[in-house]
Subunit: 320 residues, 2 copies
């Protein structure tokens, strides 16, 4: 639940003077998102999302994120589209924070995932990857393989507070990933955080992606590796290969994987599990007492990591 | 910030089958309100508020609250209006909680109070009191004078954790209030919680009241006593008699106070300060570690209580 910065009625009225969006009708803080302050803003011209970027988002990255949403929207990918002010700028300041207004996206994220969600998702990711091909800005994925050791070091032996022996297990796992991490796979702009709560559906169709604040340049197949973890495990921790196949095959109908990508899927999925395990572990060990947002249990991703480690090839994901 | 119950896309789609509101377009949890789970619900017919009533609201009280909103709205008082389902019922169940959909009210609550807010407020309260006169249901104010001693006893000597000697001071104060509490003042349906965040303004006009979940039958002037505390102190704790006069005079243009009401204003204001001091004190001493909602500082209302105790007559509130 996230509204970290209080914005008064006077603040928002003054802010809207910079836009051609009419007058404010109502504004309500949204209890979703953990990184930024988000408000649903109704004006005399429509409904928008106002975001104030809090400290976990780097100000220098914002032109990449906002520019990407502009770029994708112009190519027919449904996502929040930044509203530009009268001076042409989409990125401004409000209450001492970088701030932007984006369009409101119809739909809700699916709380119970079924195969058809995975199929629509796979296809839409491939379309997004294609649309991002000529995006001129670049941003390194600082939460890819080279970013994991600093995170693990920061947790140190305290990983054993979660489970005895975990610190050693993760050290071994990370060394394996660092050595075996694939190079030379097709790269491009990826979303890098395609959890179900960032994908909206409306009337059975995927109505758009939100929350591009981890987007970066990286191996395209890594976006799918994140989704194998986030969409294809059941709540009892069992892996659902039918969902995985639907996801990957739908993607391949738009952009077929190379043989190298297919063979790399298990290690990419291990890496994606490691990335979310490490950030959750760090947040679990370091969350302040009384924080608004309850940290997510890192063990969920430990189980997923172990699953992918035991996988021997893309057949485990329903591909032959 | 409050969304205590997770409602899935499937849950809300099924729930909407009971209404003539069209299909769901989006639903977002609102980070406001501390008692219930509130969602901004967009459908193909408009925008609504969906509320799930959590444990602090008694189920048996809901027909009073929802009926009152219906009654007031039918008499031109702007407030959320319950939407009735196809079977005529406004109160239903969702995710194991009592739930209702109400209309969406335009406007925002004022974060910086000025005199014109107080003037509009006074007039609108008087209109609400008049409109409530023939409401047939009744509900006791269980947070009026007879409800304060159990709260104080529940805090006990721990009040001294806030300030040395506070426990004794509140005992003395409460005895005084119990002895001097006025009877025979004009009664009716009051809102009983008219803090600024429950009063919306739009384009300079009061656009409605929300959050009727403390509404009850009590002395009408007590609603004004709550507002003297919630609207007429500056952030530096100084009392602004100009705001108080604007509030009370605008009320009196619709319904003049009797002489007994005028003379009772200081003790009613003391009582209202005691009521919010005690609930805040109780919450302060009893909030669970890591709770989502930070408890409000009870000392703010201790200062207000002491101010009203020193008042000798309605002149302190700008009335002559």
């Amino acid at each position: 639940m996230a509204v970290y910065t209080e914005v008064t009625d006077d603040d928002v009225a003054a802010f809207l003077q910079e836009y051609d969006l009419g007058e404010v009708v109502s504004m309500k803080g949204i209890a979703e998102g953990v990184e930024n302050s988000n408000f649903l803003l109704s004006t005399t011209t429509g409904t928008y999302i106002l975001t104030l970027y809090e400290k976990r988002v780097k100000r220098d990255d914002l032109p990449f994120f906002l520019g990407l949403m502009d770029h994708l929207a112009a190519r027919g990918i449904r996502c929040p589209t930044p509203i530009h002010g009268r001076d042409g700028e989409a990125l401004r300041e409000l209450c001492g924070r970088p701030a932007a207004i984006v369009t409101f996206l119809q739909g809700m994220w699916p709380k119970r995932i079924d195969v058809h969600h995975c199929r629509k998702l796979g296809r839409a990711i491939a379309q997004m990857h294609a649309a991002g091909r000529d995006f001129p800005l670049t941003r390194t994925n600082d939460l890819s393989v080279q970013g994991w050791r600093p995170l693990l070091d920061a947790c140190g032996a305290r990983a054993d507070e979660i489970e005895s022996g975990l610190s050693n297990e993760l050290q071994t796992e990370l060394e394996g990933l660092e050595q075996a991490w694939p190079a030379q796979l097709p790269e491009g702009v990826i979303h890098a955080d395609l959890f179900p709560d960032n994908v909206f559906f409306h009337q059975g169709e995927l109505s758009g992606f939100i929350d591009f604040y981890f987007a970066c340049n990286d191996q395209l197949a890594y976006d799918l590796a994140v989704c194998l973890n986030a969409w294809c495990f059941e709540t009892n921790s069992e892996f659902n290969a039918t969902k995985a196949r639907a996801l990957l095959q739908a993607y391949q109908e738009v952009r077929p994987f190379s043989e190298a990508e297919l063979q790399a899927l298990p290690i990419l999925a291990q890496g994606a599990a490691m990335r979310f395990l490490l950030t959750r572990l760090f947040d679990w060990l370091n969350h302040p007492e009384g924080a608004y947002v309850a940290p997510k249990d890192p063990r969920e991703y430990l189980r997923k990591l172990r699953f992918h480690r035991a996988v021997r090839g893309p057949g485990a994901y329903g591909l032959t």
